[in-house]
Structure formats: structure tokens, C-alpha cells
Amino acid sequence: MTNMDPKGLTRQPPKRLHAETQAVHPRAVDGRFRRLKWAVMTFCLAVYYITPWLRWHRGPYSPDQAVLIDLEHRRFYMFAIEIWPQEFYFVAGLLIMAGIGLFLVTSAVGRAWCGYACPQTVWTDLFQHVDRLIDGDRNAQMKLAKAPWGPAKIARRLGKWSIYLLISISTGGAWIFYFADAPTLAREFVTLQAPSIAYSTVFVLTCTTMWFGGFMREQVCIYMCPWPRIQSAMLDEKSLLVTYKDWRGEPRGKKSPTGAPLGDCIDCGLCAAVCPTGIDIREGPQIGCITCALCIDACDGVMEKTGRPRGLIDYVTLEDSARERQGLPATPHWKLIWHARTLIYLGIWSAIGAALLFALGTRQHLSIAVSKDRNPPYMILSSGEIRNAYAVRWKNMEGRPRKMQLTLDGPAGAKMWSEDMAKEMAARDLTRIIPADTTAPLRIYVTAPVGTHEGKLSFTLRALDQDGGEVSYATRFDAPDEDHD
């Protein structure tokens, strides 16, 4: 690192234990990666803002919002999928897939999550565009930052912060629509009739968006986020990094003072000027680099203008850096992705996805849960019959009422009745209509004749409509060991 820029921001030996943060005013740039970032940003923001407003018809008993986390009724709706609390493992599975997806992306294309899709990156990018819109590009922004406070600066700052605030409010505002019917909540929200939790959520998220996106920005990535640290451990010599090819660029300069031949880098500093985290990529790989590749766009533009080949700054693996340094050709891109770690992550990721889909496709839409009374385990009735009691929960997970039949399979002569009927009507089966999307608890009493021994007993719940379906629950029937006296 003898070629280091002595003026580099991060490398100057500090005099104090804490350092003043240097504000970053990245310069606007255009290029293929900038256009990709635009596309990803548009896509991410569109998904975030539009999703809660999509409708999905589920019949008269369920909400018609396509994506809804209904905490009040403990349901999670996602298009055709409805998740009950006891099926939360589907959500856990999705979260695991998201985690392994991050590993997969890191293994395949490096720190792409940080550079393109992370909300912190997307919103920081958005706020930096607002800066350019109000204050002008990099130089104007720096000039304004240095300028003394006066009416013009105050007006500009207030204008900019107002736009920040609008973006922040709409960011925080969009979040709550995932948790309630969006049109209803929007109406309630503006007429001040929404629940207070909605306002406090919007307030908190407005504050965090404003603070993290408007002011903290790259500080979040460098100092607060744990992911770059984890990610450093996940990068290896086969990971794509934004790399300044010093073997091609050095010695840098516009004109050689000694007349010795110079490298391709003309030391225009544009790569550092466009960097949204304010680093100089020529100092090598560093934690501040989120691999957004805007420096590649900037450098490619300069190389083109000066008639040199593109790619002085490029996505290169450490392995290829070593090869190129020796004059060997770079590995083709498909080969970079085609390596064991990536394939293993892909395998795990797809296996979990396939398992979740399989479980979703085969899950039952009715279920039964039985909890046997254990205190007392059995009762002797005046007739001498033995009675056991069970709390049976009938679960109808369809969005329509269903007629269901509970059947008893147990000791000979056993009969059941429930708390909502007379004992005289006891039978081997009970039929009930269970309302849509409901768990119906019912206390069931089972009697067996004198002399019955303890043993197995099971309940079977059957849906009596066209779709059918059947679930069983095995439990036991308790009886005295011998004739009681």
C-alpha cells in the first residue's frame, strides 16, 4: 500500500479518539450500474408502496387484501395463502430462506444486497437525489454546506427537510397498511379515527426514516449495521469485489513529472466523488464499500473519454486480481457463479422452498386438538358408568362455514355428548356447523359402561361437504383399576 493517497479520509492518523464525521456529497453519475440501481430502487419502492393496496378475493368471510398481517385475528394472508398462528413455521421457513438467500447472493455476486436492495441503501439513494434536486450537484452542495447561515440557506434547508419529511411520512405511513385493511385505515388515518398504535407506528418510522436516510446514511452501514461484519467473513477469493486494478492504473497521474510512463488512472478523483459512502476505492477493498458500482460507472465514462479501455475499476474476484496481475485472462463470468459454495447455498435454499411449497399444498384445512381432563381422570356416575371429559377444538381453516362430524372410536358401548346438549342425546357421533375461519372449542363427555377398562380412544373429525377431509386425534380413556368400593 505504498501508493496510498496521503489525503485519504480514512487513513489519516487521528489525533483524537473520536473523529468528526465528514459529510458525503456524492456527485451524480450515469452508467449501466446507475441505471440498474434506478431499476432496483423503482422496483423495491413500488413493491413496498403498492403491495398493501392489491386486492385478492377470498369470499365473504375473509379480508380481500392480497397481503395482510392481521394481528388482531391472528392470521397472515399472502395472496392465495392463509397462515394460522400454529402454522407460523411457514413464516419461519420464509425468513430462513431470506437468510440463506442473502448468503446465496453474497456467494454469487458479492455484497450486492448492500449495494442495490437494502432499504438503507435505497432510501439513502433517494434522499441523495433530493439533495441534488434542491442544492445542486456535489460542488454546489459542498459550497452550501460551508456557506454561513442566511435566509437563502435557511430556505433551501427547510425546503429540503420538508421533502425529507414527506418521504419519511409516506414511508412510515405505508408500513401500517400491511396490518389492516388499507383503504379503511387510510380513511380513518386522515380523519383522525385510526387506532393510536397506527399514529405512533407512523411517527416512529417517520423519525427513523428521516434520521437514518436523511442524516445518518453511510454511518449506518459503516458503524451500526452488523451485516457488513458478517459479510466480511463470507467473502473469499472467489467473491466479486469492486476492485481498482492498480496493476493497470498505477502510477496514476495526469502528466508524469519525470516523463516515466504512467498507468491508466488519470487521478481525476471521480471514483471517490461519486461514492455514496465517501470512500476512495483505489485504497483497496474496505468495509465502507457497499459495492454499488457507481465508481465503475464514473471510471468507465472517463476511460471512454480518454480513449482507454473500460474496466479500470470493475467487479473482480481476488483470484482474478492475482491472475490479471500476471497477465492471465480473467475467469469467464458463468464460471464465477458455478462454484461449490454457491451451488450448495442454492441447493439448500431451493430444498427449503420446495419443502414449504409441498407442505402448503398438502396441508389440511381442518384440524382437531383434544385435551383430556386429568383432574379428575375419570368419574363414576350414579348409574356406575364411567365418564371421561375432553376439551375438543374443532378447527375450520376455510373461508366458509363447514358442516363437520366428530366420531368417537373407543371402548365398546362408549357414547359422547357435549356441554351444549343433554346427556340423553349421547351418541357415537356429533355434527356441528363450524363458522368460517374459526376454532370452535367444545367440551365432550364420554361415558362407557360399568366394567370398562382404561384404553385407547380417538376422535375423528370429518368435513361433510364436497371437499371432505379427515383428521384424527388419539387420546385415552381412563377407568378405575378394579371395581371401586
Binding site: 487521528p14 350414579s382 351444549d420 346427556k423 356441528r432 376454532t439 372449542p441 368400593d485
Partner: protein, 318 residues
């Protein structure tokens, strides 16, 4: 750059600059291990100051500073007892409408309001745990001398109203005029029946309850039974709820159905006491307890909910 700088540092006593990173060290080392000086951003320091300010504010408004006799009270006046009291008040306020509805509803009308009945059963379950468990057991299954409340055998009646009366006035509760009362004579101890006669009566009772086949002793017992017992237990031995006289033909025995146990009962008699709860518990609590005991599966005069039971939708819950 580092090498000459380090020369400079050595000469002037400044920290060494680490060559691979170009970062200055803190200037100290332990067994050859040095620390790079990577400064925190200043805002981090301010966050630290902000935490201190918050902590001071917290200590002012909440009780935080210990003293000799008592700690500081804090300007908010918060106490954990106060918080508990306000939570209890809130719970009480939440229960108030249910209790008011219970007060306004005669117990026999409770089944007409399934929602209120369900709440009464839940409240009764809690009150049972507090008041009734010592005798009747946590599962209300009773024990020798303490009736099992789950079964369908009732000494004094098993309708909601009967249970309410029993709860309110108790059984053989001295000082309560309306208490349920009766007294079985101690046939053996007081010499009304000779021991051999007692055995004959026991044989008869064991015969009518289906525990022993009839024999000569039981035949003699039948005559003694007709002379001494039918006034309360009835000619057929099926008991009489007016006197809390148990049904002797069924399979439920409060004091045991063995020959020994019945002999003991006929000889010495039993007169169990249940306290009157009317002067200890509120009328609403008594209604809740009655509803709970009635709901245990043996309650009598069962009234089906408004809709026919066979195909009604079960009550819903989460």
C-alpha cells in the same frame, strides 16, 4: 510512507503507524500486541452523552436513588404497588359490566344468555380455586365425606337454583336459618339397632345397590329398613332431597359403599357441614360458582341453548 513516519515517530515519541493499514497505533503494547487507533465518529460520543442525560432524567422522575430509610420517590410518583393497584382497578372496571349483568339476572335465566353463562362459568372456576378447593379438591372431584361435584348424584339437588341455595346457606351451618339441615340417627351408637341388626341393614343396602346378592340377612334387613329408614331414604331406598338423604341404590357413595363403610355410617351416622357462603361472597360470585359447578357435567335441568343442540354452530373462540 510508513517507514519514514515511524522514524519520525520514534524520534518524537508519537505512536507507531501500522504499515499494512496505514493506521496509527494507540502507542501502547502488551506482549507485542498493539491496538490500532480507529476513531469512533463523534456522533457516537454524543449518543453516549445523550444516554447519560437520559439516565439522569430517569433517576429524577423514577424512584432510583437509595437512602438510609427509604429511596427517592421520583417526580412521577411511580410505585410498583401503585401500578398493581391501577391494573387491578382496570381489571375490576372491566369486570363490572359482567357482574352487574349477573346481579340483574336470576340464576334460572342464566342459560338463556350463553355469553353471560360462559363468563359466569369462567369466573366461577377462579372463585372455586380460591374458596372451594380445600374440601372439594382442585378438580372438584371431592373425597370421602366431601361430595364429588362432577357426577350426577346430588344430595340436595343439582339444578342451578338448588346449587345456588346450597352455596348461599350451606349445609348444617349453625346460625343460618335457611341452611339445609337433617340429622341421621346414630342407629348403632345410640342403641336403636343392635349390632346384628345393623349388619342386616347393611346387607340390605348392599343388595339394593347391586353389590351383594340377596340373602337371609338382607331379608331381615329389609324389614328393619322399612321400619327405620324409609322416612328419609324412601321405600325404594332412592333417597330424598328434602333431607339430603342419599340415594342408596346408585353407585356413588359419599362415605364409601363397602360393608365396613356402611356399617360405620349406620352405627355412627354422618352429618357433614358445608359453610354458608352467602355472608362471605357476593351474590354475583355465588351465581358464578353455581354456574361453574353446574357446568361440570352433572348439572341437572339442563336447558339446551336456544337453537336445537344437534346441529347448532358451536360457540366460537380463537
Amino acid at each position: 510512507m510508513s517507514a519514514p513516519e515511524n522514524e519520525h515517530a520514534k524520534e518524537h515519541g508519537g505512536p507507531r503507524v501500522d504499515e499494512p493499514t496505514g493506521t496509527a497505533t494507540m502507542g501502547h503494547e502488551w506482549d507485542g500486541i498493539e491496538e490500532l487507533n480507529t476513531p469512533l465518529p463523534t456522533w457516537w460520543l454524543y449518543t453516549f452523552y445523550a444516554c447519560i442525560v437520559f439516565a439522569i432524567g430517569y433517576c429524577v422522575v423514577y424512584p432510583a436513588i437509595p437512602g438510609i430509610k427509604e429511596g427517592s420517590h421520583g417526580t412521577f410518583g411511580w410505585t410498583s404497588r401503585g401500578q398493581l393497584a391501577s391494573e387491578m382497578d382496570a381489571a375490576k372496571a372491566a369486570r363490572a359490566p359482567v357482574l352487574a349483568a349477573l346481579d340483574a339476572t336470576p340464576i334460572e335465566d342464566l342459560p338463556k344468555n350463553p355469553e353471560l353463562l360462559a363468563k359466569a362459568v369462567a369466573g366461577g372456576k377462579a372463585a372455586f380455586k380460591v374458596n372451594c378447593v380445600p374440601c372439594h379438591g382442585s378438580g372438584a372431584a371431592g373425597s370421602i365425606g366431601y361430595p364429588n361435584l362432577n357426577d350426577d348424584d346430588w344430595l340436595w339437588g343439582g339444578t342451578l337454583t338448588d346449587i345456588q341455595t346450597t352455596l348461599e346457606h350451606g349445609i348444617r351451618q349453625p346460625g343460618d336459618d335457611a341452611t339445609r339441615t337433617s340429622m341421621m340417627p346414630s342407629f348403632g351408637r345410640d342403641g336403636i339397632l343392635k349390632p346384628a341388626d345393623v349388619q342386616d341393614v347393611v346387607s340390605y343396602v348392599r343388595q339394593i345397590s347391586g353389590q351383594e346378592p340377596g340373602n337371609a340377612s338382607a331379608q331381615r334387613g329389609a324389614a328393619l329398613f322399612a321400619a327405620n329408614c324409609v322416612a328419609c331414604h324412601g321405600a325404594d331406598g332412592k333417597g330424598n332431597r328434602m333431607f339430603g338423604a342419599p340415594n342408596l341404590t346408585d353407585k356413588v357413595w359419599l362415605y364409601g359403599g363397602s360393608r365396613t363403610a356402611i356399617t360405620e355410617t349406620v352405627t355412627n351416622a354422618h352429618a357433614g357441614v358445608m359453610p354458608a357462603w352467602g355472608n362471605r361472597l357476593s351474590p354475583a360470585t355465588i351465581k358464578m360458582l353455581a354456574a361453574y359447578v353446574h357446568s361440570l357435567g352433572g348439572g341437572e335441568a339442563f336447558a339446551a341453548p336456544a337453537a336445537p343442540a344437534a346441529e347448532t354452530a358451536a360457540s366460537t373462540g380463537q
